[in-house]
Amino acid sequence: MTVSVQTEDFNAAAEIAALIAGRTDVGAVVTFTGVVRGDNGGRDLVAMTLEHYPGMTNAELEAIEAESHARWPLQASRIIHRVGELPVGANIVLVVTCSPHRHAAFQAAEFLMDYLKTQAPFWKKETFADGTSRWVDASDGDDAARLRWTQTSGA
């Protein structure tokens, strides 16, 4: 269980390798990578700037990660969230989950993303080709996605 908030890029394969190194009990590894899309709302995006709340961010990510380990039999996990200005095509976020079985790894990774997107103090600002910029609005779909996990056992 580790979380990082950083400006640097990450490498999913290196993170997987670090999580399972020396272990012989991991059977399933799921990763989610979020990437800056260039086609936001029909306007030409050139960059996404990620602001966060230092201090709170790590604590919040650690709490979300701990909750995922309480819900599923995870052997290891990793959350990396980038901040600062990121060009189109850049990685934003990486979540990795390791479990003996695939369903738990899939469920936990989706849970982590749904909670991260609605609970962790990050904010995205879009900069467009015409020089304008705007703060991204929170999505009702993200709230609905998170609420799924409060209505089922999640197992």
């Binding site: 709170m56 976020v93 609605t118 103090p121 600002k125 703060w135 609005d137 929170a138 999505s139």
Partner: protein, 89 residues
Amino acid sequence: MAETNTITLRYFAWVREKTGRAEERVSLSPSVQTVAELLAWLKSRGPEYADAFARPGVIRVAIDQRHVKPDTAIADAREIAFFPPVTGG
């Protein structure tokens, strides 16, 4: 009864841009007891605050780096942060 509580206020994303500052230290009147009362007081502090806190319902608040609700008591908070709904990931 007359003592004041000096705390750090922090602003993020468009709340920061509208207030024109990332953080400040303020002394709160003892009459400001809850998050909702603090939001109402902030809104009264000038045009930039009136703009930032025009719709208090969309502002999220964290006390000492934990999410709180409008009816949460400020109590002996050291740091209170104000920000829009989060949009990371």
